[in-house]
């Protein structure tokens, strides 16, 4: 056990830090609160810049344009990005989830065709997994793909598709064998979103925005060569994507949380409670300290998980404790913010009295989604119960 950076890690950090100092845009805060539709070209340009310098997907193998970075280097990457207050990358699903899945399961032709354009943000990817009747029970999905000569004909509906509105391509899980057991008859297709019969509709969420979409497929023809992995082995391909989702997310979050608690501590000195700054109220202090402690533990859990993953080579079910931990922690953090801000906490971004442009009212509502998206807390607990602790399957 040695939590000091190795010489290689230091080198990696210093190189990245000086690159970011010279290249990270300084005007991101001004863009941050604009609708994604407006800021998207900006984010694309930023990813392109990272790509050209070889920083877009440090975790990817060198032969695919990455740096074969170790998990610790990946964690350093996200820390440095956060430290530099750099914008996120436009193609985050492509880089974090779908690219690695294509690299793992794709044919040589698929890798050649898709991977470079994921890196350069030339083609944005989205993920067609959930359906109206297949949420937690993902394997129950019904979107059908029927082989017709050289094409699959796809019919069905997907929901909760992030970046659906801007997606050029979509990783779609379909049912290719309705007679097989529900986990067995699935196939992953890579679908061009411009294909006739694909219709994208915004899904308005409780925050008022539409981060997500519904996608409708009506007789959409997908070439056979766009099957990712083996026909009827789509469950394993999909699970691999979900593992990346749960494993990698937490790495970048602790810095965001740390910044939030830092800001909250500042605010606690300005807002009054019982005639003195909230920061002097013993109960507020207890809550802030608890939250600070949990953010630190989230970082430590992540580092331990990385060390385990480095030993085993793949993200494992331990990712579930990270997901569970950060999502529930984020809700607690937002609640503390509400307690500190009092009536100001409810003010939305367009109100002239709003604190931090309404970030806290938005955060309060948005974090309700955290324990639902990317596998509900209940599903994460099922995964821990069965796959980590070896309890019998409950469903």
């Amino acid at each position: 056990m040695d939590l000091n950076l190795t010489a290689d890690e230091k080198l990696f950090r210093d190189e990245l830090r000086s690159w970011l100092a010279a290249n990270a845009p300084k005007d991101w805060p001004a863009w941050q609160n604009k609708p994604l539709e407006e800021s998207y070209p900006y984010l694309r340009a930023w990813q392109r810049k990272l790509y050209e310098a070889g920083w877009a997907a440090v975790s990817w193998p060198k032969e695919f344009g990455g740096r074969s970075a170790s998990l610790m280097q990946q964690s350093i990457f996200w820390e440095e990005m956060a430290r530099a207050e750099a914008p996120p990358m436009a193609n985050s699903l492509g880089l974090g989830l779908i690219g690695p899945t294509i690299i793992a399961y794709g044919t040589e032709a698929q890798k050649k065709r898709f991977v470079p354009k994921i890196l350069s943000a030339e083609e944005i990817w989205c993920q067609g997994f959930s359906e109206p009747n297949a949420g937690s029970d993902l394997a129950n999905l019904q979107t059908a793909a029927v082989l017709d000569g050289d094409h699959y004909i796809v019919n069905g509906q997907k929901v909760w598709t992030s970046y659906g509105w801007i997606g050029d391509w979509c990783e779609v899980v379909t049912r290719t064998d309705s007679a097989a057991a529900k986990h067995k008859g699935l196939t992953v297709l890579l679908v061009d979103m411009k294909t006739p019969g694909v219709e994208v509709r915004p899904l308005k969420q409780m925050t008022g925005e539409s981060e997500f979409n519904e996608i409708f497929f009506r007789d959409v023809r997908v070439p056979k060569e766009n099957v990712l992995g083996k026909v009827n082995d789509g469950w394993n391909v999909a699970i691999s994507t979900l593992m990346y989702e749960r494993g990698s997310y937490g790495a970048r979050l602790h810095l965001i949380f740390k910044r939030s608690i830092g800001r909250l501590i500042e605010l606690s000195k300005k807002f009054q409670r019982n005639g003195k700054p909230a920061s002097e109220d013993l109960i507020v202090r207890q809550k802030l300290a608890q939250c600070y402690a949990e953010i630190e533990i989230m970082r430590l859990n992540q580092m331990r998980a990385f060390s385990r993953m480095t030993a085993t080579g793949v993200p494992g079910p331990e990712g579930s404790i990270q997901k569970l931990f950060w999502s529930e922690l984020n809700q607690r953090l937002q609640q503390i913010a509400q307690e500190i801000l009092g009536p100001y906490g409810q003010l939305l971004g367009d109100d002239p009295y709003a604190v931090d442009n309404g970030a806290w009212s938005y955060g309060y509502l948005r974090t309700r989604g955290n324990t639902i998206e990317a596998g509900t807390s209940e599903v994460q607990r099922n995964i821990i119960g069965h796959f980590v602790l070896g309890l019998p399957r409950s469903y």
Partner: protein
């Protein structure tokens, strides 16, 4: 950066686990907890033989010279086995105090016999009111005589010398000295005995100032958290095993999500406590500036987690969990005593608050 254990750390942990499983199985824990002191001479000799009594102390005093991470791993395994007796009181507490505050001469006199397994000790800290804030201590030695009463002193009845934290320094007292009385307090934890120790003009030898005491208490607190992690892990293991075996409605109860989710939360809390404990140990070893906060964070989390893991463990066991015969309550009792020891989560949250709110020594961007 590597948060996994090194090979030699794995070996140490593994051999400690085997050692405690062999030398101190639950039958032995139950036998010892029924004794007056919980101390077993043979077990102590074996602990010393393993080098455990000198684990973190310098070789010049007969120690093994290993680091705090190794100490925490050993404590974790001792906690998993619920080892009774004065190991915690003697090694990570009294030993660390001597090592931190005493001169070479005093270390030779007091630390060496601990390392060699010849002496057991403890530290008398709390007074009436049980304030962990050391500024609040009232007892002081005048003319090398101590008067007053210390409470919640662990394992005082088997100590060869008792260290007394006084306003004006740390003193060593011979338990057979005149004017001393050691009376058991009836604590919930049956495996770690506590005492009220009264001094009346008791001769005391000053071994150091209180200036470096907080460093020693950080080591003791981190060690205690390590032990708590072991207790949580054992509670989780016992509970999961029971949930797989116990059947109701024709199914193992571990198949029900209400039960699985209790177990999943126990796992999350245990693993999170472990991450915090290991980091605190490493931070102390490396003397990083935030080491003290890391210790507090670990104690905040583990104090609450130790209790909630136990709550869930008992609940999953149903009626069986409420029986004397089931072992879970023994760990639960230890967890409660450890929760309060060296400051509970409320105490340590305030300590964290002082650092991150008032002093801003750890700014959001320091990571």
């Amino acid at each position: 950066m590597e948060f996994g254990l090194s090979e030699s750390q794995e070996i140490l942990k593994d051999s400690a686990r085997k050692f405690f499983a062999g030398e101190c199985p639950m039958e032995e824990v139950r036998r010892l907890m029924e004794t007056e002191t919980g101390y077993d001479e043979k077990l102590w000799a074996k602990l010393a033989e393993q080098g455990y009594t000198g684990i973190i102390f310098p070789e010049e005093f007969g120690g093994v010279g290993l680091g705090k991470v190794e100490l925490i791993l050993l404590m974790e395994e001792a906690g998993r086995a619920l080892v009774p007796g004065p190991f915690f009181s003697t090694v990570p507490l009294a030993g660390a105090v001597i090592d931190a505050v005493a001169s070479t001469e005093h270390r030779k006199k007091y630390l060496e016999p601990i390392c060699e397994g010849k002496a057991r000790s403890t530290v008398a800290i709390l007074e009436a009111g049980a304030n962990w804030n050391l500024d609040a201590l009232k007892i002081s030695a005048t003319g090398s005589k101590i008067n007053g009463e210390k409470l919640f002193v662990t394992d005082a009845a088997v100590a060869n010398f008792i260290l007394v934290v006084a306003q004006d320094g740390v003193y060593a007292v011979d338990p057979k000295a005149p004017g001393i009385s050691i009376a058991p307090m009836a604590g919930m934890d049956l495996t770690r005995k506590i005492y009220a120790v009264k001094f009346k003009d008791t001769p005391a030898e000053k071994i150091g100032s209180t200036a470096n005491l907080s460093k020693a208490f950080d080591i003791a607190t981190a060690a205690l958290v390590g032990e708590m992690v072991g207790g949580m892990q054992r509670t989780l293991d016992i509970t999961v095993e029971y949930a797989k075996m116990r059947k109701q409605f024709g199914k193992p109860i571990g198949m029900f999500q209400a039960v699985q989710h209790h177990c999943a939360d126990m796992y999350l809390e245990t693993e999170s406590s472990r991450s915090a404990a290991y980091y605190a140990a490493w931070a102390l070893e490396e003397n990083v500036p935030e080491a003290s906060v890391a210790v507090s964070i670990a104690k905040v989390y583990a104090s609450d987690a130790g209790r909630t893991v136990g709550n869930r463990g008992i609940q999953v066991h149903g009626g069986m969990g409420f029986t004397w015969e089931n072992d879970v309550h023994l760990f639960y009792r230890r967890a409660k005593a450890s929760e309060a020891a060296f400051g509970d989560s409320t105490f340590h949250r305030e300590r964290v608050a002082q650092q991150v709110i008032d002093h801003e020594t750890l700014s959001a961007k320091s990571a």
